[in-house]
Amino acid sequence: MSPFEQTGSASGFGQPRLQVDGSVLARGALATAAWTAVAASVTLLANKKVGFADPLYVVETNAGFVIWAVALALATAVGAFWPPLGQRLGRTAPWLVVLALFVGIWDLLTAKLGLLPVPFFAPPSALVEVYADDWPRLGESVLHSLRLLALGFLFGTVSGFVTGVAIGWSRGLGYWVHPVLRFLGPIPSTALLPMAFFFFPSSFSAAIFLIALATWFPVTVLTWSGVASVDKAYYDVARTLGAGRAFLIFKVAIPAALPHVFVGLFMGLGASFSVLVAAEMMGVKSGLGYYLQWAQGWAAYSNMYGALIVMALIFSSLITLLFALRDRLLGWQKDVVKW
């Protein structure tokens, strides 16, 4: 037998060898240890008594930490043999340790030692209480916010895209639209809130208009600049091949401008978030912004934190979604930023 055959796949086929990934094991063990320490600290140390009412969901919260630590231990054990999980665990382990430190110190400073001023800083169990007890209202707020945002962003995107293509393509239209764009565009939509609530039949429609306006401006400007900066040679090529006007607009100008359009969409999405929350705080009596305002008004600070976390998750997911859409449509581009 030649020495080469021993390393071939045929000889090792009978008994696949499990390889232990030492680095995954070490990193996973570190993360598990950190969270075990957190679980031990929250369960074993006594809570300091604050106020009259006993805090709720303390046992459940502590149980959650214990379960999480056990889950990490299991993931470490499995990940050491199973690379798909092991790689993920290895990558996130440093973050898990930092988070454990954060949560552990947070619990120490609030529940255990009571060092932070009380209504403003709540222990982890208070967050659990918010989600467990107030989820119907929180969920309803999320749905209201999403509906408002979706309508406003959709109108803003469609009108901005159409305006941008139109003024990028036609000088005549540009003559009329450009000054309006320059004059009205830079006004922050939030500055128009009071006026919009006055002019529109309902605060809901006013908010849709303002979110649409906030989205419209960057989408218009970027689409316009995208269409205007299309390489003229692209048009020459299409024209010599017998392309008509519609082909030049829809098959040349728009696809060539899409990378710019997406920059506009990202800017518009960011602007729409801020107008959404401001509008909900000022006049629309529903949604996450209204929830935040309400929580602050009742000094329910843990509700406020809870809503902020939900907001961060939702907005971040929406941006992720937009990135996924861009990667799908603009896969032909060379170097694109990964979100």
Binding site: V237, G242, P255
Partner: protein, 268 residues
């Protein structure tokens, strides 16, 4: 395969014509440069026979590419008249296709969809998909259908641009320094390929180049243009049969003539 045609042709190795004749009569053209006219073409008269291969040779910036844009119909001439197959040229038409110096492939389309552009623009794609595959095969890009332009080398991108032109079955092929940006080895290979394509297809070919050897190697007639505004300075007829050989002493002789017309014969 081409051999059968040889006997019929007036020039050995030249194709049986499938092309259109092009006549350029008294064409002058000027650009508007900040309100002042900048003359680029001065009274050009040129008759190109159907199926002929003509090269326009001149110093850079002399206006030869402008003449090609006029023949393509991308711009109307300031003065004079250009006609193809007896019809005056007023707009671009897929029977006169241009291959530019830059491949100008659309980066968002795959190679196949880039080549299919002309058929798609004219609404013929659904019924004539096979022509796209044929064109890709002709230029040696079979297997690259799904690649994106950024994945191609310069030579491959220019081949794709050539396929995008050929798929329209042009009667006049307009080549605007198509090999100008390629490395010299790719250039030599593609010169031979272009000559071969022309012999097989028989379209009228109008080539702009500032490479004297390229012009003489490919064309039956080389038109030497002056500095801007371009005028026709000389006409060199190259009656060498195809396929030609770069080492042919006749080519060297003609090269001396061409350089003399351009005032560059001191080093010859």
């Amino acid at each position: 395969m081409v051999a059968a045609q040889l006997a019929v042709s007036p020039l050995p190795g030249a194709p049986v014509s499938n092309g259109a004749d092009v006549s350029i009569v008294g064409v002058s053209h000027a650009f508007d440069l900040e309100g002042r006219p900048l003359p680029v073409l001065d009274d050009i008269d040129l008759d190109i026979r159907a199926g002929e291969f003509v090269a326009l040779l001149g110093p850079s910036g002399c206006g030869k590419s402008t003449l090609l844009r006029l023949v393509a119909g991308l711009e109307p001439p300031s003065q004079g008249r250009i006609a193809a197959a007896g019809e005056e040229i007023t707009t671009p038409d897929p029977s006169r296709v241009v291959v530019f110096q830059d491949p100008t492939l659309y980066p968002w389309r795959t190679v196949w969809k880039n080549v299919a552009l002309g058929l798609e623009a004219r609404g013929l794609l659904a019924s004539q998909k096979g022509r796209v595959d044929d064109a890709l095969k002709t230029v040696g890009l079979a297997g690259f259908e799904r690649a994106f332009p950024r994945q191609l080398s310069g030579g491959m991108a220019q081949r794709a641009a050539l396929a995008r032109a050929l798929v329209n079955d042009p009667s006049v092929l307009i080549l605007d320094e198509p090999l100008g940006k390629l490395d010299s080895l790719t250039r030599i290979a593609m010169q031979a390929e272009i000559a071969e394509l022309w012999r097989q297809r028989g379209f009228t070919t109008l080539l702009v180049t500032h490479d004297v050897e390229e012009a003489l190697f490919l064309a039956q007639r080389v038109i030497v243009l002056s500095e801007r505004p371009a005028r026709i300075k000389a006409e060199i007829v190259n009656d060498l049969p195809y396929p030609r050989h770069r080492g042919d002493p006749r080519l060297a002789e003609l090269r001396g003539q061409a350089l003399a017309h351009l005032g560059l014969d001191a080093s010859w």
